[in-house]
Symmetry: C2
């Protein structure tokens, strides 16, 4: 492996480029981004050695990493497979997986593609937010790997392990169902919280004064990029809608026991939910 | 000021004791806690110099800090005022303020009491979770200060400023209304999120695998103590219920635009809420 092409020089693509400098310093990095500003910044930050276009860069690349929004990926993954040289490898970092896998289902080079989702990110975006340690100790989920050549799977798995990531395998459908609850719902809950507080607290000084670390952490995801998240919600709307339905039911139940002064049930609701501490530390 | 009595040797009381060691090292600390384990631990950690009972400690104290749950405080604040010596000062750290202020409205020593709420805490509890820097740079809200003697206000304000806290003044009623949105609602949203995910993801391994920093931060408050939070919700139920009502409406609206594939509105909803980043940094 000599040339790597990173398409999308934002937080994920940028951090991946910086991490590779540490773990695979021999690689030559070609960057592609529709934003000139991002391209310039990525060169400055040494995320990439040169910037180029898809048409020029893809035929030269041994590994192509697509770190673009998921609405772009459903078109870009097949287009990329069209343009790569034989035996090159393509992977994507999209937060949804099913539609992206479907987009190349019948592609002649399907087996050179591997669908991945690194469970890593922050509320910030752009190459300026990238840092080399973003992926360390993070989980990366590889999807529908039975459609991928064994050599591709093996090379990519080894690369992620070298980067100190933890690797898990799932179906793309299962991934999207579970991630709706464990990530996408968190984002909706946070955006709705931010929206509620902004609407009520017209005097912003009260938010500033009273916001402690609790509010900060629950509202942090409400700073996330709408350009990135609108297509994620769009692609995973069925699963997110189901998660949201159950979440609204839980909140409605909590409101009921609060309004009826049922302190015993309120205590029980919280006590049972405390179990999340154990689960996050120590899966059974 | 010579003797300080800290009642409730948990996260807040314990951290306050440790902070005072730095900023007022000349004080003698008497601790009171109904838990023998907490008392022992607080002695070990040098949060206090001795442990005692309310009956013995209160008449000796120049300053009494009540850091107990809010259902205890509505009885304990008047009882404490009954027992202190002349010119001693009593303050509480409760997360609700209106009922606590009401509990001493007509007390003959009302003016020696000052109602405070330090906007500081973590999801952990007990003296073992205490640390001396918990209060640094945090906001502390003083309520209904027109009922407090000017010398008490001045001494306590100076003490908090010495401890590098930021001091704001509010009515107890206004405090409870605003804190419902900016703190209590965060806790409900987090508990409901944890409960939803625990119910759906029967296979706990999926939560563990897919939980990233986003889920971690939105669900962090669901690890909070039910013993502490049940009485807070109980005392502030009207305001929390109103906040919850609006939050559920926001989520229901988001579900509607998601189900109707209204990507434009979804984008707008998130874009507008991104304003929380500016507000938290930079109040107008």
């Amino acid at each position: 492996m000599k040339n790597i092409c990173i398409v999308g020089l934002g937080l994920l693509g940028g951090s991946f480029g910086l991490a590779l400098r540490k773990f695979k310093p021999e690689l030559h990095h070609i960057g592609v981004d529709i934003s000139e500003e991002n391209s310039k910044k990525a060169l400055e930050l040494k995320i990439v050695d040169e910037v180029s276009t898809l048409e020029k860069a893809l035929p030269e690349a041994d590994l192509v990493v697509l770190a673009t929004p998921v609405d772009v990926l459903v078109k870009q993954v097949p287009q990329t497979l069209d343009l790569i040289k034989e035996n090159a490898i393509v992977l994507d970092f999209g937060s949804t997986k099913h539609l992206i896998c479907q987009s190349v289902e019948n592609h002649s080079k399907r087996s050179r593609f591997i669908a991945t989702h690194p469970i890593a990110g922050t509320e910030n975006s752009g190459p300026g937010a990238a840092f080399s340690d973003l992926f360390i100790s993070k989980m990366i989920i590889l999807c529908d790997v039975d459609k991928t050549d064994p050599d591709v799977l093996s090379i990519i798995k080894d690369l992620f392990l070298l980067m100190k990531m933890r690797v898990e395998i799932m179906t793309s459908k299962g991934h999207d169902e579970h991630i709706a609850f464990v990530s996408h719902l968190s984002h909706v809950s946070s955006f709705a919280l931010g929206s509620t507080v902004l609407e009520i607290e017209k005097n912003e000084k009260n938010i500033f004064i009273m916001a402690g670390s609790g509010f900060d952490s629950t509202v942090r995801l409400a700073k996330s990029s709408p350009d990135m998240w609108t297509p994620i919600f769009d692609q995973n709307k069925k699963n997110v809608s189901r998660a949201l339905q159950l979440y609204i039911e839980k909140l409605t139940y909590f409101k009921e026991i609060l309004d009826s002064e049922n302190s015993e049930e309120i205590h029980k609701f919280m006590k049972e939910t405390n179990d999340i501490r154990r689960v996050l530390k120590n899966p059974s």
